[in-house]
């Protein structure tokens, strides 16, 4: 069954906002991101800096290509590839048992440490990225549809921010529980 175009627009707009904000926070404080990246202990030292510069640029590119309808499919591929890459880095460190590493995701998530919740969040975002490839039913959009796209994308972005905050709260709550037990 083809997807309603509004759903696709909402999913792509949401991912575009998520990527744009991630890129913005990294570019604003590149050194902090470099240090965070180094803490992942995945890249040899000389590669950390070039990668720290490249990632936010690719994220910005994903945001732009997702918004523009003609490049949407390419944007979807890039978005899912980026999510897979960063989630892979998180998973490797989780499997190593390193949960006290800062996420380095930037912004509100700055206080997040690595956890499986991050992996789940990224998986859900990637699911949204799949909407970029789905066939859509051809129908003309009315002004109300545009309101729904804007409203839906904004509301979902707030939900993502909420999820991030709750993930960041988790280790603090865990610390409280241990001490009072």
């Amino acid at each position: 069954m083809p997807l309603d175009p509004v759903i696709q627009h909402v999913a792509c707009a949401l991912l575009a906002i998520v990527f744009a904000s991630a890129a913005w926070h990294k570019l604003r404080d590149l050194l902090a991101f470099e240090l965070a990246l180094d803490a992942y202990a995945l890249l040899p030292s000389p590669l950390v800096r070039p990668f720290a510069w490249t990632l936010p640029l690719l994220e910005s590119l994903a945001a732009v290509t997702l918004v523009l309808t003609p490049t949407r499919t390419a944007g979807g591929v890039l978005a899912i590839a980026l999510l897979a890459l960063v989630t892979g880095a998180v998973v490797v460190n989780l499997l190593r048992g390193r949960t006290d590493v800062g996420c380095g995701c930037g912004g509100i998530e700055d206080e997040q440490t690595l956890s499986w919740a991050l992996v789940a969040r990224n998986a859900l975002l990637a699911l949204g990225g799949l909407a970029a490839f789905a066939p859509t039913s051809p129908r003309a959009l009315t002004w109300l549809d545009h309101v729904s796209v804007a409203g839906g994308a904004l509301a979902l972005f707030l939900v993502v921010a909420l999820a991030n905050q709750l993930i960041a709260n988790q280790p603090r709550l865990a610390r409280l529980r241990v001490r009072t037990a």
């Binding site: 965070a36 800062g102 839906g152 909420l162 709260n169 603090r172 409280l176």
Partner: protein, 191 residues
């Protein structure tokens, strides 16, 4: 119908903002009610014992003595560029260094790649503090988790130590010293 849908979106977004704000406030609360007193890991030189003494070169080229009898006590604060909480505590350290400047010197300690340490040192504006790099120092005090602090008095005796996650926990080291107990946890347990 159209007006109703538009109105629903407005309400929806308003609610999402409200829930997000609540979650954020809960996060702040968790941080503020974090347990009083630094968690002490029972390893390394014990409270009341003389600390092994060190003479180390700081990043700014000066020589720093740790654990040697002198005019002032020392707060050795173990940090790392990769520890998110450390960065948050720098302003707290600054205010403590200022408030206790009559008798205390705050020394930052870390180890590892010097180029990266220097980048962190400059970026975080740590020039006010002596910053030493020594793996041996961390090993001697058995620092396993960061940020970790050790408070030494004028004679080089360990007066308090522990894992520090907040201003309150850092201050608890000084309270422990004043009360003459090993840690605030121990004090609370006795009470």
């Amino acid at each position: 119908m159209a007006v109703a849908i538009a109105a629903l979106w407005v309400v929806d977004i308003a609610l999402a903002i409200a829930v997000f704000a609540l979650a954020r406030q809960i996060g702040v609360l968790y941080e503020r009610v974090a347990p009083m007193g630094a968690l002490m890991l029972d390893e390394g030189p014990k409270v009341g014992e003389r600390a092994p003494s060190f003479k180390l070169d700081a990043l700014d080229g000066s020589t720093v003595g740790i654990g040697q009898p002198s005019q002032h006590g020392e707060l050795v604060f173990f940090v790392s560029p990769t520890c998110p909480v450390c960065k948050k505590l720098i302003p707290v350290l600054r205010s403590i260094a200022h408030a206790e400047r009559d008798w205390l010197r705050v020394i930052l300690a870390s180890d590892g790649d010097e180029a990266r340490q220097r980048a962190f040192y400059e970026k975080a504006g740590l020039a006010d503090f002596p910053y030493v790099l020594s793996t041996e120092l961390g090993m001697t005090f058995k620092v396993a988790k960061l940020p970790y602090a050790v408070l030494l008095d004028e004679s080089g005796t360990v007066r308090a130590k522990g894992l520090i996650n907040s201003r309150e926990q850092l201050e608890s080291l000084f309270t422990a010293k004043e009360l003459g107990v090993e840690s605030i946890q121990q004090y609370l347990q006795k009470a």
